[in-house]
């Protein structure tokens, strides 16, 4: 199945108190694809995600889901189409995995409707997809970071939305768990056609897992498009204030950013600039001597 829900932002201005965080931003999320938002700290990534899922009302402009303003849609109706996993969700003390994942069914239930087989099926499917079925009776408190994150994703999956927004789903996870979570989200996208929008800190993982990459700077979109077009040395310099080299990732063929800090940089022979590598990586320049690994 594929989803054809359109999620767009038009001239969106967002802020807290006197502070404007996002200004007059236009954005369109490609349906059925994985979109990743990157940007420096406090550039408005999370704010944008919060607003797209109705958590923050826009100062100006609007967020449209299938042409309807999300901030005017009935809360539950929206929650059946669009799910959000916030950056730091709170698990009540002693709650079991089964109970937590079951709470994802909230938008499908009314005050008087009882829990039914459809709810069971959704929960089972979410546990299965995130490989947490074996943890069902465990208390969330006693899980490892990676397990816990999978359980939270399972809760969002039980919501059975065609769009899933995630705010830094890989924070606090070690390398293997980060990959595990991102692989899982890619699986969801490929097998169920779920549209995924997530904020990531790691530029290289963002470039690898994104179909559509958005670089945000100062509350505006600096660049958006395929990772190869967006992750360039110029973008990294402009958005993060970091000099870098971008090469082709030998594993994925996507761009790979290598930061140029002040230390541990191999002195380069004269005549080779540092900004020669193209976005999609024409390969690192190979002067005489050792190859660059």
């Amino acid at each position: 199945m594929t989803t054809s829900h359109s999620l767009t932002a038009e001239e969106l201005t967002l802020g807290y108190g006197d502070r404007v965080v996002v200004e007059s931003l236009d954005l369109s999320v490609p349906p059925g694809r994985v979109t990743v938002v990157v940007g420096a700290n406090a550039c408005g990534k999370s704010t944008l995600l919060r607003s797209m899922s109705r958590l923050l009302a826009p100062r100006e402009g609007r967020v449209l889901l299938d042409g309807k303003r999300v901030h005017r849609m009935p809360a539950k109706e929206l929650a059946r189409t669009l799910g959000l996993l916030p950056q730091s969700p709170v698990a009540p003390e002693g709650i079991t995995v089964l109970d937590l994942v079951g709470r994802g069914r909230h938008p499908h239930q009314g005050v008087f409707t009882r829990w039914n087989e459809k709810d069971d099926a959704a929960v089972a499917s979410a546990l299965e997809a995130t490989r947490t079925a074996g943890l069902a009776d465990r208390s969330v408190d006693e899980l490892s970071g990676g397990q816990r994150q999978r359980v939270w994703i399972a809760m969002a999956l039980a919501q059975q939305t065609d769009l899933l927004l995630l705010d830094e789903p890989t924070t606090f996870l070690d390398a293997s768990h980060q990959i595990e979570v991102l692989d899982l989200l890619t699986d969801l996208n490929r097998t169920r056609g779920t549209t995924v929008v997530m904020v990531l800190h790691d530029l290289n993982l963002a470039a690898r897992y994104a179909d559509h990459l958005i670089a945000l700077a100062g509350g505006r979109i600096h660049a958006a498009g395929s990772p190869a077009d967006v992750l360039t040395e110029e973008m990294v310099e402009a958005v993060f204030g970091l000099r870098s080299r971008v090469i082709e990732d030998p594993v994925s063929g996507k761009p790979l950013m290598l930061p140029l800090g002040r230390h541990h940089i191999r002195p380069e022979p004269a005549g080779t600039g540092s900004a020669t590598a193209g976005p999609a990586g024409t390969g690192a320049p190979e002067p005489a001597g050792e190859p660059v690994h």
Binding site: R50, S53, R54, L55, A75, K76, E77, L78, A79, R80, G83, L84, L85, P86, S88, P89, V90, A91, P92, G94, I95, T96, L98, D99, L100, G102, R103, G104, H106, P107, Q109, V111, W115, E117, D120, A121, V123, A124, S125, L127, E128, A129, R131, A133, A136, D137, A156, Q159, E180, D183, L184, D187, L188, T191, R192
Partner: protein, 350 residues
């Protein structure tokens, strides 16, 4: 790894089984609590200085005239037992509502000053202003809402943090308790019974005049809270997650706070701030029920049972008669200490 298109039947079976197991356990707990509350209620009506057999009690409750029993059971014991159940249920339900919403067992209305506000207002209304029951209730509600607003307002800085709210509430609560003490000490006729009621809560000398408003309030407000039970469970996961699950967080919060505060105020205006019932009921209910489902009804039943049992013990277990609040206070204080010690051992803050 890839996402299976079809769920294995064994996983689905386990999920269904787990859900049914939780639901059955929960039903069993609720049923047991109902039976215990009914038993406590019946014992309260039968036992006392004179024992009346169940047959007499039933006849009195049905409105028949039974010499002796009609007065003792109908006029003395029945309103007292009803108020014990109603006040206990109100405190338990309102307490667990606050604890769930603020995600902290210390955030119960009797710790953060709301009960104290209702109590101080009721003391002033009765002792100083000599108002009637309806006026007392109204004043207690206004005071409780104002206290809730003040505590919430003082705790608000970029959102409300539980710890700050609790500490501010404890401070406000102490101030209000001293107001109550002052009002009572200035009263023309110093009445110990009355004083105990407003300081710790008491059911001594209760009549229908006090019981009926609290009963009506519970009948109206309990369904309001129950209608919000699911949203409240979602809000336990944090405001953002709840919002993402389709809860209108602000609307739910206001509805729930107003309903819970009114419940507390009505119950307090009738029985005084029965110590620690709101605070104890939720955690006990959570321990009994285990995972899953709303705690509103179980906590209400635990509250009712606590008040019934404590009042009975206070009347008959000792040489002296103690008001119910003294007994629940003895039960509640150690738990408060335990909770704080445990939090600090775990390295957390309040």
């Amino acid at each position: 790894m890839s996402v299976p298109a079809v769920t294995r039947p064994s996983v689905l079976r386990d999920v269904t089984r787990g859900r049914v197991r939780n639901a059955t356990h929960r039903r069993l707990v609720v049923l047991t609590l109902v039976v215990l509350v009914l038993a406590g209620f019946a014992v309260t009506l039968m036992a006392g200085q004179t024992f009346y057999p169940p047959r007499d009690v039933v006849r009195v409750v049905l409105g028949e005239q039974v010499p002796g029993a009609s007065f003792t059971v109908g006029r003395l014991r029945l309103p007292r037992a009803v108020l014990a159940v109603v006040a206990g249920f109100s405190f338990g339900m309102a307490g667990v509502t606050f604890q769930t919403m603020l995600r902290n067992p210390l955030a119960s209305p009797d710790i953060i000053g709301i009960s104290s506000g209702a109590s101080a207002a009721a003391a002033i209304a009765i002792v100083t202003l000599s108002l009637d029951e309806i006026q007392v209730s109204v004043l207690a509600i206004v005071a409780a809402l104002v206290v809730a607003l003040v505590v919430y307002g003082l705790a608000f800085r970029d959102g409300v943090v539980g710890t700050r709210l609790i500490l501010i509430g404890i401070g406000i609560s102490a101030m209000l308790d001293s107001v109550t003490s002052y009002v009572l000490s200035r009263a023309a006729e110093w009445d110990l019974q009355e004083a105990m009621r407003w300081l710790t809560g008491s059911l001594n000398g209760v009549s229908w005049d006090q019981t009926v408003p609290a009963l009506l309030a519970l009948a109206v407000l309990a369904p309001v809270l129950l209608s919000q039970a699911r949203d409240l469970s979602a809000m336990q996961l944090g405001d953002d997650t709840a919002s993402a699950l389709g809860v209108r967080v602000e609307r739910t919060r206001i509805t729930v706070i107003v309903a819970a505060v009114c419940l507390i105020a009505f119950a307090t205006a009738a029985a005084g701030p029965i110590a620690f019932v709101a605070f104890l009921s939720g955690p006990i209910a959570a321990r009994l029920v285990g995972g899953g489902g709303s705690l509103l009804v179980p906590a209400g039943l635990v509250g009712a049972l606590l008040v019934l049992a404590a009042d009975f013990a206070g009347q008959f277990a000792f040489d002296t008669r103690f008001p119910v609040g003294v007994v629940t206070g003895v039960l509640g204080a150690p738990y408060l200490v335990y909770l704080i010690v445990r939090t600090h051992r775990a390295g957390g803050s309040i």
